[in-house]
């Protein structure tokens, strides 16, 4: 087994994850296609997963709590993707659009 932490700091993973998270966040703000928005959110979730895995390894958590958390995040991500795509298909069916900037009928 190669242990990266012999010559690597945990902070590097924190920064990497933060960068990935920010990229996902940028995508959420920047893109208009709902399906791409959803992908960006998946990207954010994955950056969190990476961070959790890194923490688990770094702390040597014998119960691998972080990795367990990652499993549950994956479970939720899968469920969210299913529901999200169903909503997307439904919206497309009614409006022929997946562009979120057209979702502005409901307002004050």
């Amino acid at each position: 087994m190669l242990n990266v932490f012999h010559n690597l700091e945990i902070s590097h993973y924190i920064y990497l994850s933060t960068v990935l998270f920010s990229i996902g966040l940028f995508g959420v703000l920047f893109r208009r296609n709902a399906i791409v928005l959803l992908m960006c959110i998946e990207l954010m979730l994955n950056s969190v997963n990476l961070l959790l895995a890194a923490f688990t390894e770094y702390m040597g958590d014998a119960n691998a709590n972080g990795q367990m958390f990652v499993f549950f995040i994956m479970v939720v991500a899968a469920a969210e993707a299913a529901v999200g795509l169903a909503i997307l298909v439904m919206v497309y069916r009614n409006t022929r659009k997946t562009d979120v900037s057209f979702l502005d009928q409901l307002k004050d």
Partner: protein
């Protein structure tokens, strides 16, 4: 735990038994299970029965229900029952919709009982995912579609934020168990400085929960989503999500209580902002539903004030407030639903309400309670909350009182129409309630008044 089991069971049975039956039939099953859950959880909370033997296999650091949480589970089940009883169905076949209601309710209970970040997260999602679907359950309604889409995208986004916070917390404390995090924190408190990972973690997780309870500036979804969703779903969001969200939030903040002073620094501004924006925005709304949405935002603001209090001994205040908020909100949503059936969305809808004495009484009592007028439970709740918060932070309470004063202006708007002289008498249209919903309505009114006059009952409950 018995609550989760019963409601989930009820959901599954409804789902499969009612697949090809009309909703009104399967609704009774779900109502029964929810009421049973409310009664049994309540009884367990009072120590009259004990189901802990049945659920010995559930480790206490995952899910743990103490007396207060059992009472909250009971109240959640009761609210679920109450919503499903008062707000009638809009579907012919609705077993799947009912099942989703039940599953969302189990999620709410999981949030309430969670002692572990994974459980908290899972509860949050089990609560949210059915609601994403329910918001769009009127498939042909493009407003419903938009609501579902907005709620889903923003909800998923806030979930990601919450998770980043949870990951930071894990990194900073080395554990996901709330009580152990608290231990680590009080340990760190001795050195004076808290790990920055934990600070960032609690802020980000709070953002996730602030989104769920629709606190300003994470509230943008709620008026739009409430408006687009079916009324029953909107009620569910306004009540169940907020009740469960606040209990979980209180638990989370309590976990981080060693850094309470630092937390107060940002909770108080968020609370004040929520109160003011919620109340002021409600003033200018045209439709009843949006007004109610902003009203529920402002109540989230009052409730945020609870989070600055020392938690353990003040839990009855939270319970009372949530109970009063839920009762009043459900009754008002019920009236909004009933009188908007002909498509009238503005306050005009209440112009014929005085033909139906029970509905009129419900409007008066519900409004008085939500507005916090004495002799209702709403007053007791607000009084307790504000007087407790006053000892912590004077200015926020002054502003909260200002907000309550503003709120009177829009809470009493319906009366302008309800009490206006109208010549048209269409008594036959609005005067018939089903016997069952009539009983439910009267029960709710009696609860509001009784608990308002005898506040020590709520002190016994929680």
């Amino acid at each position: 735990m018995i609550g989760i089991a019963l409601v989930f069971l009820g959901g599954v049975i409804t789902l499969f038994w009612g697949l090809n039956k009309s909703e009104s039939k399967s609704l009774w099953i779900l109502r029964f299970f929810m009421l049973l859950s409310a009664l049994l959880s309540g009884a367990e909370g009072q120590g009259w029965v004990d189901f802990s033997e049945l659920f010995k296999w559930v480790p206490a650091h995952m899910l743990n229900f103490n007396a207060f949480k059992l009472s909250m589970v009971s109240i959640l089940s009761f609210f679920g029952f109450y919503i499903l009883s008062l707000l009638p169905s809009t579907y012919k076949k609705g077993a799947d919709v009912l099942g989703l209601f039940a599953f969302a309710l189990t999620g709410a209970m999981m949030m309430v009982g969670s002692q572990h970040l994974v459980m908290l997260f899972l509860g949050l999602e089990v609560l949210s995912i059915p609601l994403f679907v329910l918001a769009g359950s009127e498939k042909e309604n493009i407003y419903g579609n938009e609501a579902a889409m907005k709620y889903f995208l923003m909800g998923a986004f806030s979930t990601a934020i919450f998770l980043l916070g949870a990951a930071f917390t894990y990194g900073g404390s080395g554990t996901l168990i709330l009580s152990e995090i608290q231990m680590k924190l009080s340990f760190a408190a001795h050195f004076g400085e808290f790990p920055v990972l934990l600070k960032a973690g609690v802020i980000l997780m709070s953002v996730g929960l602030l989104f769920k309870v629709s606190a300003v500036p994470f509230h943008f979804w709620s008026p739009d989503v409430y408006e687009g969703s079916p009324n029953r779903v909107a009620t569910f969001m306004a009540v169940i999500v907020k009740v469960a969200g606040f209990v979980a939030f209180a638990q989370l903040i309590n976990t981080f209580s060693p850094m309470q002073i630092w937390i107060n620094q940002w909770i108080v501004p968020v609370s004040i902002l929520t109160i003011l924006v919620g109340n002021i925005a409600a003033l200018v709304q045209q439709t009843v539903k949006r007004t109610l949405a902003y009203s529920s935002i402002s109540h989230a603001g009052y409730l945020l004030l609870f989070l600055i209090l020392p938690m353990e001994e003040n839990l009855p205040i939270l319970g009372t407030y949530l109970l009063s908020y839920g009762l009043g909100t459900i009754i008002l949503f019920y009236l909004m639903d009933k009188y908007s059936a002909d498509g009238e969305k503005s306050f005009e809808m209440f112009k014929n309400i005085k033909n139906n004495k029970i509905d009129m009484a419900a409007l008066v009592i519900g409004t008085l309670s939500i507005a916090g007028v004495p002799s209702t439970i709403g007053f007791v709740a607000k009084y307790q909350l504000f007087s407790a918060a006053f000892s912590q932070n004077h200015y926020s309470v002054y502003l909260a009182l200002l907000g309550s004063a503003i709120s009177i202006a829009y809470y009493f708007k319906p009366f302008r129409y309800a009490l206006a002289e109208t010549n048209e008498v269409d008594a036959e249209q609005n005067s018939i309630n089903g016997l069952f919903s009539q009983i439910c309505l009267i029960t709710g009114m009696l609860l509001i008044i009784t608990l308002g006059l005898l506040p020590m009952i709520t002190e016994r409950i929680f």
